[in-house]
Symmetry: C2
């Protein structure tokens, strides 16, 4: 039967095509939710997708699409998913850009990806080996290496233990043999027959909270599937510092944490392989990114000193180890690689962000912000890059916020206050009855409250500014966002004075980093051509709100570019491209690191940034505009 699969990239969802169905319908059937507001009428343009291949199997542009898509978009294969439909059953590959993915989908796993030339570290080469005879007595290793080296012009070695595969691999299919090399130099697998169509890799982003793994076909570069899970180290400590202190407290703490994450990642790989009807032992390389602590704990490297001044990482350079050393069940002579770290709190994930953003190649000045419990910021351009880490804390993930919750069904993700009536409109994930408020919701809420004078620049709730402002039983001020009753899933939802302060602390930490890096570069917000917002939260938060409360630098909103889970994207790019790895190695060396705590103005900057948007309003020329 001919291939009639439609693949959705970069999430790796796929389904069988069906004549007449729109790409939007097929995406939904494949488990993807694409933005679409107009009810599939081809009017809102939110469902833009790009047909990467198989366009002959898709209907031609219709008049709705011609109206909405500009010339450049049409040339690139962009379509409206609700209009384009399948006209012939055959393979189709569709890219769903970040902007077209529904919010909570974005949170899941995707990330903007820049195209890279496919030049993976693991590659297969087919060889027709001359048979051994009494006239050609060469040893198997000489026989293979001499041919492979002649073919590739590269000096090779056979990895220890791989020799054992040689005699059968050469002779079992009449001296037709496939060798797998790592970085062109080391033979890590020798198989009989032609297996060159089978080159699998996995990219893994180990977040403190969430772990995402992508199965990648390294022959086509395509993502075959994506799996996610909560970081199984969470029970040992919510954040990085708690986990490191667990290791310090418990005798085998490090080993326990290493095992927990290794088993977790291995489980994701098993799932990915099972869905693709493959075996983990078919996976030749795993590329891992994570912050420095997650990186160290995954590789079993003592992380103790990350939590003590001067916060030196044990390992900066990129690592390559064997699966058995970390406890993965991928191909035993294969590789588990990591991107390099920059500093104790600017890790391989930030390097991956940087790779995915492209900032390191930009002529113009820009900034990359990846918000999390620790927020990594890198600023500059291709000439010079400076970085720092800000202890922004877990407030944006809902921690220490009275009604805080992670972005999940029923969490408030958008808040809007009607300027005329004062009515509070909230939108929740899945449009479910509101159960709590997630990070983007609280940023929206503060922004709206500030705009309507419900809080002042110091973040204080103004008692009479809005009927929702009241005092709780302890006499503390709070703001009622959702009233209890039929509309709510669990009674009323409020934002307390304390919640506001938590967000102020978090955003001040971030903005202090922003300011410090701009000062190091001698630039102002207006000099930034692009602000790359990375990470699930960064992607999901409303840019105007983030600027209005003084979390992002004051740039025109259209200069903010959401790049989603850029750590995952960077990991995939580096899995596919050795050149990108070389770039990463060079970046980790070249990016200057600024230890904020060692900056003499740190306290003053931080105190000023506690204000909304800032004590020094000259930093926010658009404020009040």
């Amino acid at each position: 039967m001919p291939d009639r699969t439609i693949h959705f990239q970069p999430l790796g969802r796929k389904i069988e095509t069906k004549k007449g169905k729109t790409l939007l319908q097929l995406a939904t059937l494949a488990g993807l939710t694409i933005e679409s507001i107009c009810g599939s009428e081809g009017k809102c343009g939110k469902c833009r997708v790009i047909v990467q291949s198989g366009s002959a199997n898709v209907s031609p542009l219709n008049s709705n699409e011609e109206k909405i898509l500009d010339k450049k978009e049409r040339a690139s294969g962009t379509r409206l998913a609700c209009q384009a439909h399948v006209v012939r059953d055959g393979p189709i590959v569709v890219e769903v850009p970040q902007e077209s993915q529904r919010g909570h989908q974005r949170l899941l796993a995707a990330g903007t990806e820049r195209r890279v030339r496919l030049e993976p570290a693991v590659r297969k080469t087919l060889l027709k080996v001359p048979p051994a005879t009494l006239k050609d007595l060469r040893a198997d290793d000489d026989r293979l290496l001499q041919l492979a080296e002649k073919k590739t012009k590269v000096k090779m070695t056979i990895a220890p233990g791989v020799h054992n595969l040689l005699p059968a691999a050469l002779r079992d299919k009449a001296w037709i043999t496939t060798v797998t090399t790592f970085r062109g130099e080391e033979i890590i697998k020798i198989e009989s027959g032609d297996t060159t169509d089978d080159v699998l890799g996995v990219a893994v982003d180990i977040g403190t909270t969430k772990v995402v793994a992508y199965l990648v076909d390294l022959r086509s570069g395509m993502v075959l599937d994506t799996e996610t899970m909560a970081n199984p180290q969470i029970p040992f400590g919510e954040d990085v510092i708690a986990r490191i202190s667990y290791c310090n407290r418990k005798k085998d703490g490090l080993a326990e944490l290493q095992k927990a994450i290794a088993i977790g990642v291995d489980g994701l790989i098993w799932k990915l392989c099972a869905a693709a009807r493959r075996e983990p032992s078919d996976v030749l390389e795993v590329m891992v990114v994570g912050n420095t602590a997650m990186h160290h704990l995954f590789f079993g490297i003592p992380a103790k000193h990350l939590a003590e001044a001067p916060y030196a990482p044990v390992v900066r350079k990129s690592l390559v180890v064997r699966p058995g050393q970390v406890g993965l069940s991928t191909y035993p002579h294969g590789k588990v690689s990591s991107l390099p770290n920059i500093a104790g709190f600017v890790g391989a994930d930030a390097v991956a962000d940087l790779i995915a953003s492209g900032l390191f190649e930009d002529d113009d000045l820009g900034m990359m912000i990846d918000i999390g419990t620790n927020t990594e910021i890198v600023a500059g351009n291709k000439k010079r890059l400076v970085s720092c880490s800000c202890a922004s804390g877990p407030a944006f993930e809902g921690a220490h916020i009275k009604f805080g919750m992670r972005a999940a069904s029923g969490s408030i993700e958008r808040v809007w206050i009607d300027p005329d009536t004062g009515e509070i409109v909230v939108r929740t994930v899945d449009d479910a009855p509101p159960r709590g408020i997630c990070g983007s919701g609280i940023v929206d809420a503060l922004s709206e409250m500030l705009a309507h004078g419900i809080i002042d620049q110091a973040g204080r709730l103004a008692p009479r500014a809005h009927p929702g402002v009241r005092k709780d039983r302890q006499g503390m001020a709070e703001f009622v966002l959702v009233q209890g009753g039929s509309k709510s899933a669990g009674g009323e939802i409020t934002i307390t004075q304390h919640d506001i302060q938590e967000i102020q602390l978090a955003k001040a930490a971030i903005f202090t980093g922003v300011t410090t890096l701009m000062r190091k570069l001698g630039i102002e917000a207006g000099d930034l051509s692009t602000v790359y917002a990375a990470g699930a939260f960064g992607t999901y938060v409303d840019a105007s709100s983030a600027i209005r409360i003084g979390m992002y630098p004051d740039v025109p909103v259209d200069r903010i570019k959401f790049i989603g889970n850029a750590a995952g994207s960077g990991a995939r790019m580096c899995l596919r491209s050795t050149r990108m790895r070389d770039v990463a190695d060079e970046l980790s060396h070249r990016v200057e690191y600024v230890e904020l705590a060692a900056e003499k103005d740190f306290q003053r900057e931080f105190a000023q940034a506690m204000f909304l948007p800032h004590r020094d309003l000259s930093r926010f020329p658009s404020h009040g505009a």
Copy 2:
């Protein structure tokens, strides 16, 4: 307490010195038997030893020594062990040359060793690392590597997994750190404090029959101890072919054989370490040699094709694997290395022989012969070397010989027939009552029988040549070597017509190799300046007897140089010297291999060589002289 140990090299025996005791007495106490015929009167000169260091602790030359030792010997520190005695308690290192070791001692383990410059692959370097501060935020890996590279001018990497040692090794002894490198480039161990005086290696010679292991201090180059055992694979098959066929027959045969030898070698290492009060995990490198089959089976490489034409080895190049891959309990990030092979039946042991002999550096032509079940021969000089393997079989080890036995207490090792009386004089190992006859004894016997016309050139027993010739019950001729009675341990000992034929077959196999290689080089026996006789048997057999029966080429006896267990010596030399390893790699590539079975004259040569000494007596000009 000051060091007052006397070491005997190269066997690694040691004991505490005692004022007044002679070196011969101390050697005996240390378990070594040194040749001495004159009853310690300083007259026979058989007990020559060389004082390598600590000569101030030894008595000055006495008149006996001055009489016997020539000027050159005196300059080199040569002494008579029975005359030189300890005058002061302090460290002494004594070398016991091959010639001074008693026969069965030689069999044990020793081998002539050429001096090499000490430049082992594993080396330690002491570093004073600048501490991490807020002013110097470098990662631990950068901090260490930058210093180490600055000190050594070599680009380094840290081996996968060794990173985990970094933080403690740097900080536990105030940033004083010892790094262990492999071949200068790869850091395999990082320790806190100064451990540079502790660099241990083990050399192992895996023979088909016997396994010998040497514990070597790689800082001084000294052998600390030697251990031997029977090859634990013997129960799976007496010889190489039987073991390979076991692997082919049994599903997990290869794994079983690999495990047997690995456990065996590991046991030797445990013993060596226990005696030296060390742990196997202190051993940083193990250097293994063996014939190609023993090499393959040790590394778990399928050996099936070694037993099938064209007998191609799987691996020619030298290997470096991790201890865990072969099942050794030495330092996990350390190395298990092997010398390279040349061909399916000319293995790493022959390369080691060649290294130990020095033939590869000789200007003059020479030949190296290592007699065993397979006999390896290499001939040539520094310009060109040719090699072959001869299926000489186990007759010299006593197999298929009626009263054959290994060289052990009571085995006849020397035979002499009085030309006047016809009396047969035998000497046995340990001078014990004769129980059987070992290889060197049977070669002596044949040589004497030939000299006295008891056998003719075709090997036939002449019925009336000696009263000892008789017929057994089946009417087969035999020769009574030892008559039953009080002198014998177990009745009479005879040599049968069949025994004689077995030895003829064995020596013909060897001499066919000798002839073929000489033909390849276009030379004659007289062109050979040196014949290096390697291997326990080769060392122990009487050279004149071996020439008289036509096993060795017809050269003046003084051109035959015994180099003992040269495979073990070569392994130790390569453990100590990376330059020697490079030489070995180059040799394994450069030495030409001749497949005897593919030579068109093979059958004719073999048939001629069955005669004693040869059908073509022009090959043995000294015959009858």
